[in-house]
């Protein structure tokens, strides 16, 4: 009895440093933010309690609605196009090619680069006098020339294109690990039974790599929802609000508008949105995972 109590104390002792760090750097700021979300704090003067006014105002805030629309658009593209693209790339990279190692490295390289560096580099490519328009001109497509980041219709797709370029290789590496864990004998027996390549992918590969699909979808959703750096560097959310995401707008509310109370309220709602979406995703994809 005594030894089990001292063992319990020992466990608490070991957990204490992590708990302390979690308390100081996560729990305390979170609770502080929750309190500030009910105030009109401007970062300088003492905050006044305003009840649910910030939360009520958020539901009538056109800018928030536009940013939510943009963010969900990015999320949909990243999950519905980015994820299958990563899987396709992984299937190709899993083929017995001689240059497989080189190709894997090349496709993974963008994932190693800072998003800031990527944004600036793509900015030079996509600007009106940039590389893309120069190439279009070279091949006689002058009519297709655009200020890709300065046009309402093309700015957000351009941002998404950069995200796909940067993220597809990373997702493919995760899928590749999954593909290599699929037992070869299952594939071979299906092949002997006359299953086509597509049938084998649909009935054997995908069910067996479902945990990896869960991870990649989760990372895609989380990454899309908290998207900030690429639009911040490339377009500052513009033109107009064409590329303003929720993360970028909350940043602006706090550090540009100096409305810290309002921004923390927006942050709280944003957190709930992320939690709901990821919970739904995890419950759907995990249900489809199979045990080997």
């Amino acid at each position: 009895m005594r030894s089990s109590r001292s063992f319990y104390r020992l466990k608490v002792f070991f957990v204490l440093p992590a708990l302390l760090l979690y308390g100081i750097f996560t729990l305390y700021p979170f609770l502080g933010s929750l309190l500030y979300s009910f105030t009109n704090w401007d970062g300088l003067q003492s905050p006044d309690y305003v009840g649910l006014a910030n939360y009520r105002a958020l539901f009538h805030d056109k800018a928030i609605m536009q940013a939510a629309k943009n963010t969900l658009y990015v999320l949909a593209v990243m999950v519905l196009i980015g994820n299958p693209l990563s899987l396709t790339l992984a299937l190709l990279l899993n083929l017995p090619l001689r240059s497989r190692g080189l190709l894997r490295t090349l496709f993974f390289l963008p994932a190693l680069m800072s998003l800031m560096v990527i944004s600036i580099s793509w900015g030079f490519i996509l600007q009106y006098d940039g590389l893309l328009n120069a190439v279009l001109t070279l091949f006689g497509f002058e009519n297709g020339i655009q200020d890709w980041l300065g046009t309402m219709d093309y700015a957000l797709p351009a941002v998404i294109l950069i995200l796909l370029w940067q993220g597809t290789g990373f997702g493919a590496v995760i899928y590749l690990a999954g593909l290599q864990s699929v037992p070869r004998e299952l594939q071979e027996s299906a092949q002997i039974d006359g299953a086509t390549g597509l049938q084998r992918i649909y009935h054997i590969t995908i069910p067996l790599i479902m945990p990896f699909i869960t991870i990649n979808t989760f990372l895609g959703i989380a990454g899309s929802l908290k998207l900030f750096d690429v639009p911040f560097v490339l377009t500052n959310g513009g033109p107009g609000t064409a590329t303003t995401t929720l993360g970028l707008l909350i940043y602006k509310y706090a550090f540009v508008h100096e409305s810290y109370g309002y921004a923390t309220a927006a942050g709280m709602l944003f957190m709930i949105l992320i939690a709901v979406i990821t919970f739904l995703q995890l419950s759907i994809t995990r249900r489809r995972e199979v045990e080997m």
Binding site: G123, D129, L149, G150, M152, G240, K252, V256, H257
Partner: protein
């Protein structure tokens, strides 16, 4: 507008700007807004604060519409949203455009990059023909209330504010808001700005008495206009933000 049209007809870009830097949006908007905001009502911002005028009134709407006219008619460079101010200024120096809307530091920057550049200045009138010069203070003088030598401090400030001293300080350096102070500038464009300051009514930069949220939303509206999105209900949105954040305005 007719000048812009003539330039465009000759395949010359009328105005070059680098709006990617965001702050440069105000450099192009202020010269338009100052005459429209304060041309008919010198107390416009105070009146907005007191509820006698609105951000959604003819002043802001008029300035946005005038800015939109420049954008919609293609008078700005086509790459204005994707280049920064350094590139825009270089394009101006290289003769790729006829005009550049920017602050009074520009002649000095151009002098640092090239020699004998033929630079001039003119004020942009509002639609009704009113002209107001915008200005921002670069220095402030104050005396510590607890100083042991108040008389000497006052004497020093008085000496520093003598026209001769201000002319000495301003020489090739700073514009003066006083009509009896005429600093000498090597760059003729600076002399033209100084003359315009003395010939036209002046006002602090428009927006100095708007909350930061309104200024940011104004920049957003300007980029939307530049991208072909039109003025729309931008002024109404600015008015809503003004009411929400009015407590941040300090008169």
């Amino acid at each position: 507008m007719s000048l812009n049209e003539k330039l465009k007809a000759q395949k010359i870009t009328p105005i070059v700007e680098g709006f990617k830097d965001i702050w440069t949006l105000q450099a192009a908007y202020i010269p338009i807004a100052i005459s429209t905001y304060f041309g008919t009502n010198p107390n416009f911002e105070r009146d907005v604060y007191d509820g006698k005028a609105s951000v959604n009134g003819p002043e802001v709407t008029g300035a946005l519409t005038q800015f939109a006219e420049l954008a919609d008619k293609g008078y700005f460079n086509k790459n204005s949203l994707s280049i920064g101010n350094d590139q825009a200024l270089q394009d101006f120096i290289d003769g790729k455009a006829a005009m550049h809307m920017m602050g009074s530091w520009t002649p000095g920057v151009i002098d640092g990059k090239t020699q004998n550049f033929p630079l001039g200045f003119f004020i942009i009138p509002a639609k009704d023909g009113n002209t107001v010069m915008s200005a921002g203070t670069d220095k402030g003088l104050s005396i510590n209330a607890a100083t042991e030598h108040p008389e000497e401090a006052i004497a020093l400030v008085q000496l520093m504010l003598e026209p001769d001293m201000l002319e000495l300080y301003g020489k090739d350096n700073a514009l003066s808001a006083f009509n009896d102070v005429n600093p000498v500038f090597a760059n003729p464009a600076m002399s033209e700005i100084q003359a315009a300051l003395q010939a036209h009514p002046g006002h602090r930069n428009p927006g100095d008495y708007f909350p930061p949220s309104v200024q940011d939303a104004l920049n957003t509206a300007l980029t939307k206009i530049l991208a072909g999105g039109g003025v729309g209900d931008s002024a109404a949105e600015l008015a809503k933000l003004y009411e929400k954040d009015k407590s941040k305005v300090n008169f």
